[in-house]
Symmetry: C2
Subunit: 424 residues, 2 copies
């Protein structure tokens, strides 16, 4: 399959002149195989088209925001209708109240909502709310867990100074003893325990949350008066229609949501319980566009689909079908191929592949067959995917495994990922 | 004039249950006169309608984002067109490159752009970029200047801890000696000087920037190697089609923009010069919705209007007409009425009015006559306003001054602003 990339190359050259590094953030392809396109031009349903018009079944879903399909007719119609009425105004509209009421009804631990734009706005607000509530400073969180890209949490420390990271203690996810030790170290200064719904760090196998770990986090917060924060920004509504730890019988005090909340329209939210209400009201947080009405209309429509359709059962079944099919094909080809995390948010890693050379080769072969997968970040399923899409993916994978089998012995190191194996 | 507020009251009651404090952030009416509506339902051109259908000529312009009129036909059409093609995707579109090129052409000090969502994203990125560039920590900024609502800069400190504010030194805006003293105190640890385009702090008279102050800031940065940051988030494109300090002959290294950049669609940006490029590329910043294509299409259309129309000359002339007309009417009524700041971003304060009881009475009288003014925050003019709108405002003001004259002797203290006069 020949693919053109001349327009992408031209855009990269122009970008290199006017954007530092040519591109920044989680959508930079700097750490992806060289043939991955940097620029796109279209999205519809489960598919994206790159700047050269190549079409892909998209397992990244915009890194999460696309839950019901790109350019979703009903969600975008709700947005556009409200845009004509009023969007960013001198105050909020009644839609903000309706949306808060809707979330409070849907998410069992939540008694109130504060809306914002970035996922990091919500996690930072949770940190500040916990500190205001407890009048203490320390947050305990898991090593390697992503909670956003502000100085207190960004995974790459350039420009960050020590004081930005003060009063944080790290534990190992799912390790009760490590969590207890971190809380003990915090002493009487513990403000919050942050937790991801499951371990979805980049570059390593994902892990379901251990119920004992979740219960211990709750117990330690109850004992110390600290607040328990579950960060659902990435995983929200792909594991449950409620906070995902409700499946473990654990209620957080605060939860943070974003990404797919309005199916790609910019919105995030911190939800909280009665205990944390007064502290949340005391914290001054705001943003120029936080009260956009059109985005809230889109969120109301997205949440209606969450409640009224079987999207979750469907994407779970599609994820199971994908996992079983890939597993069979990888085994037939003789590869140790680990698929981890929930079926709706899979991550693929090959055994004996420290610098991901196999993963890069496999991903490139998938891409060239019209399937956009990621070699080291969890992926996302969306409700616009069909069984036929999954079967196309499995066909592509069978061919990709075959190519990989031929090429594996001769694959060179992936220079751009040399840091993974400590080889640079 | 009787106005209904029953729907607003109902929404406030519902909001009190599901939003901490009932409303948060800069659009909370908690510190406005009691008759100010909290909820709106519509915006068109220069007008907003509150939740009860009352219509106002809006001098807040959504606190800045509305530059060309609410629900602007061409800007929103560009947005909607791109929304149907692709908005939040798995990568950016070519529009991002085009938008960066456009800003680099328009803003004289800029060689590159990094887009984000909140104004605070841009100011925080500037802080981090300056620290990465200099490998130093301290930022000098003016007392009372607003640069956003994250822990390092939020004006209300609940939930903020000392380390969040470490390594900041404050000076007095427009005071060269104070600026020099702050820089001297920073010693060899100065990373950046932040500056507002003019003094636009709440509750006090605005002040144009002193050219000597601006030049001194530039000189101190040149001497120490620190970066000069001009924060145009609030004032951008209402003073100049370039960075506003270009009018003083001063080029910053970094500037931050937001609010009206896409006429209300959520977008902000940090612009920078060649010197700061490498540091900007080293900082890890990102957000789920930062690469939204529809918003960038709206920004391109907004910037086309900035370049190709006489909007700036028109809003300046309207602002001058407003100022002269209000001045005459205030004098005729015997009030010391201070109008400060640029004509396009006025602030009104009465003499001898420490707790703003006169300002509150005047503003309420304007509101009841269909003109939404703010008693203590700078306002904004937009290009959808007409001379007839200004004349309606002047008629309303004449009546409002007359009412104020009758009522002034009997006005009671404004309890909610008692903190201003230190009376609580």
């Amino acid at each position: 399959m020949t693919q053109s990339n001349s327009r992408d190359r031209e855009l990269r050259e122009r970008a290199a002149a006017v954007i530092p590094g040519g591109m920044y953030g989680h959508q930079s392809v700097g750490l992806l195989p060289d043939d991955y396109p940097q620029f796109f031009e279209r999205g519809e349903g489960a598919h994206i088209w790159d700047a050269d018009g190549n079409r892909y079944l998209d397992f990244m879903c915009a890194y999460g925001p696309n839950l019901f399909g790109y350019a979703h007719p009903e969600i975008d119609a709700a947005f556009v209708r409200q845009l004509g009425q009023g969007d960013t105004l001198t105050g909020p509209t009644g839609l903000m109240v309706e949306l808060a009421e809707t979330l409070v009804r849907m998410v069992s631990h939540a008694d109130w909502a504060i809306f914002c734009k970035n996922g990091t706005d919500a996690t930072t607000m949770a940190l500040t709310t916990a500190r205001a509530h407890t009048k203490r400073r320390i947050v305990v969180r898991a090593k390697g867990a992503y909670h956003g890209a502000l100085p207190w949490c960004t995974p790459r420390p350039a420009g960050v100074i020590d004081s930005d990271r003060a009063h944080q203690i790290f534990c190992d996810y799912n390790d009760v003893a490590s969590l207890e030790a971190a809380v003990a170290e915090a002493g009487d200064d513990l403000a919050a325990i942050f937790a991801a719904p499951f371990r979805h760090d980049a570059f390593i196998d994902q892990a379901e949350p251990d119920a004992a770990y979740a219960r211990k986090a709750r117990e330690l917060c109850d004992r110390t008066g600290a607040l328990l924060v579950v960060d659902e920004v990435r995983a929200g509504f792909r594991l449950s229609r409620d906070c995902s730890w409700s499946r473990l019988g654990v209620s957080p005090d605060l939860s943070t949501w974003g990404k797919c909340l309005a199916n790609g329209h910019p919105l995030s939210v911190m939800l909280g319980n009665e205990k944390a209400r007064r502290a949340a009201a005391s914290v001054y947080v705001t943003g120029s566009f936080w009260f956009q009405a059109a985005t809230m209309a889109a969120a109301l429509e997205t949440l209606r689909l969450v409640r009224e359709t079987d999207y979750l059962e469907r994407i779970t079944a599609l994820g199971d079908r994908l996992r079983a099919g890939l597993d069979a094909r990888a085994r037939a080809a003789g590869f140790g191929f680990r698929q981890t995390g929930p079926a709706t948010m899979p991550l693929f890693l090959f055994d004996d592949d420290p610098d991901l050379r196999k993963g890069f080769c496999f991903s490139s072969e998938m891409l060239s067959r019209g399937v956009y997968v990621h070699p080291w970040h969890n992926m996302f399923l969306c409700a616009a995917m069909t069984e036929a899409d999954i079967d196309q993916t499995l066909d592509a994978a069978e061919a990709a495994f075959a190519v990989l089998k031929r090429q594996a012995p001769a694959l060179g190191p992936v220079e751009k990922l040399a840091f993974l194996s400590g080889a640079h």
